[in-house]
């Protein structure tokens, strides 16, 4: 069943997070005004991105300078002759036209840039077709691309408070790590400024305090933390207020017998 919505309401970075953590396989179709895009994922990782219909064809490898027209014809013939189950990459490598690493470098750069451009869309319809796969001769990256890294880079290109404030409404909020942030962070390449903030996260300081300690602007801190947040590395919470807050220990406790009576009554309804 397709998941449908608009990236104005459920952002691209949120959708990428869902695909990553849900180990989703399928095709994400996006449209904004006259533009369209199609991304394919395999078990939560990106394997192809096309901003134009022709980017879904093997001809892309010619345009990217990896193959000549004649070599592409030869690869297509081999692919047809050798039957199902073989990938375009495998045929190119077997024909010794290019190495797997060369194909990865060229296609990964193209695929990532295609996705980064989508982060600038203010709105756009999306439809995720579960288990949809690219055509057998489509230019798929040999090694699937981690979505965490894409989210961080995409968020680096966000320069509007509006989108950030959806997730970080105030600089009085504290930042804390989720489970195993160091493990997850291995898939994310952090810039020096991001490391400065990453190292300051202690579950006690507010965003405003982090900004002061790092001498960065509050906007930069919020933008960087928004990236961590979207990639699922950290969470932000309101700073507990003594006047309003109530700790778990202070919460009213109810008697098990009372709860059991309600359960039995509801069961009997």
């Amino acid at each position: 069943m397709a998941l449908v919505g608009n990236i104005r309401d459920f952002g691209l970075s949120d959708f990428l997070y869902l695909v990553d953590r849900g180990y989703k396989t399928g095709g994400l179709h996006l449209s904004h005004e006259q533009e369209t895009a199609l991304l394919f994922f395999d078990k939560g990782k990106l394997i192809m991105a096309a901003r134009k219909p022709e980017d879904q064809q093997a001809d892309l490898l010619v345009r990217l300078g990896l193959l000549s027209g004649d070599q592409l014809d030869q690869v297509r013939q081999n692919l047809t002759a050798q039957g199902n189950g073989l990938t375009l990459t495998q045929v190119i490598v077997d024909a010794q036209i290019a190495s797997r690493e060369q194909i990865q470098n060229v296609l990964q750069g193209f695929t990532e840039e295609s996705v980064y451009g989508l982060f600038g869309w203010p709105e756009g319809e999306f439809r995720f077709e579960q288990n949809q796969r690219p055509a057998p001769d489509a230019p798929v990256v040999p090694i699937p691309i981690s979505v965490d890294h894409l989210i961080m880079e995409g968020v680096r290109r966000i320069d509007e408070w509006g989108r950030i404030k959806d997730r970080i409404p105030s600089t009085d909020m504290i930042v804390r790590f989720l489970d195993q942030p160091d493990e997850r962070a291995k898939g994310v390449k952090l810039a020096p400024e991001e490391w400065r903030i990453f190292a300051r996260i202690n579950g006690k300081d507010t965003l405003a305090e982090i900004a002061r300690k790092t001498s960065l602007s509050e906007f930069d801190v919020c933008r960087i933390v928004y990236g961590f947040l979207t990639a699922g590395l950290v969470e932000v919470r309101k700073k507990p207020s003594v006047a309003v807050g109530r700790s778990a220990a202070d919460a009213p406790r109810v008697k098990k017998s009372l709860v059991n009576r309600i359960i039995n009554r509801i069961k009997g309804m």
Partner: protein, 176 residues
């Protein structure tokens, strides 16, 4: 007579009134008014104050169900409704991802400052374009221990199941 309270919350048109109507033993007391703002795009009439339902547990014990108003301008009522509540059901319209951010805001309001027992009911699971509970968990960024349950608020058995699942959460945290 002892009364205990459960709160049913969620964004506009999440199904709160329907949920309470499906299980309440009394005619649900709703304060519905013709919608005057953005909500009229979604439904002609909406709950601007609150819904109230009731289930008699025994001669000496009554369960009250309060549905919160979905519109932002009635946020001030949430604080009042949440005082002393036994538990909370957060209803989500599984077919409308545009309400997920608002749902997160509601969860944050009720859960940040209080040690609230709650479950999330993924409503409208009978619709063809509904996001599954697993997808909603990821979309709402809920941790694994929070129950995200399939729900059809017009179906009494489905509503019973949600209340029971919430009660099991409360039971685990209750004292002997």
């Amino acid at each position: 007579m002892q009364t205990v309270k459960m709160v049913i919350s969620g964004a506009v048109n999440a199904g709160k009134t329907e949920f309470i109507k499906a299980i309440s033993e009394i005619e649900v007391v709703s304060t519905e008014r013709r919608a005057t703002d953005d909500t009229k795009m979604i439904k002609k009439e909406t709950t601007v104050a609150m819904d109230f339902g009731r289930i008699a547990i025994a001669d000496d014990l009554v369960l009250h169900l309060f549905g919160t108003p979905g519109q932002k301008r009635f946020d001030f009522m949430w604080e009042i409704l949440s005082e002393g509540m036994l538990g909370l059901v957060i209803l989500v319209d599984s077919t409308r991802p545009e309400t997920f951010r608002e749902t997160n805001r509601i969860i944050d309001f009720f859960v940040s400052y209080r040690d609230t027992s709650y479950v999330i009911a993924a409503n409208k699971q009978d619709r063809p374009n509904a996001w599954s509970p697993d997808e909603l968990r990821l979309a709402l960024r809920q941790p694994p221990h929070v129950k995200v349950l399939p729900c059809v608020a017009s179906d009494r058995d489905s509503v019973k199941n949600i209340l029971l699942e919430l009660l099991y959460v409360i039971q685990e945290r209750s004292e002997e």
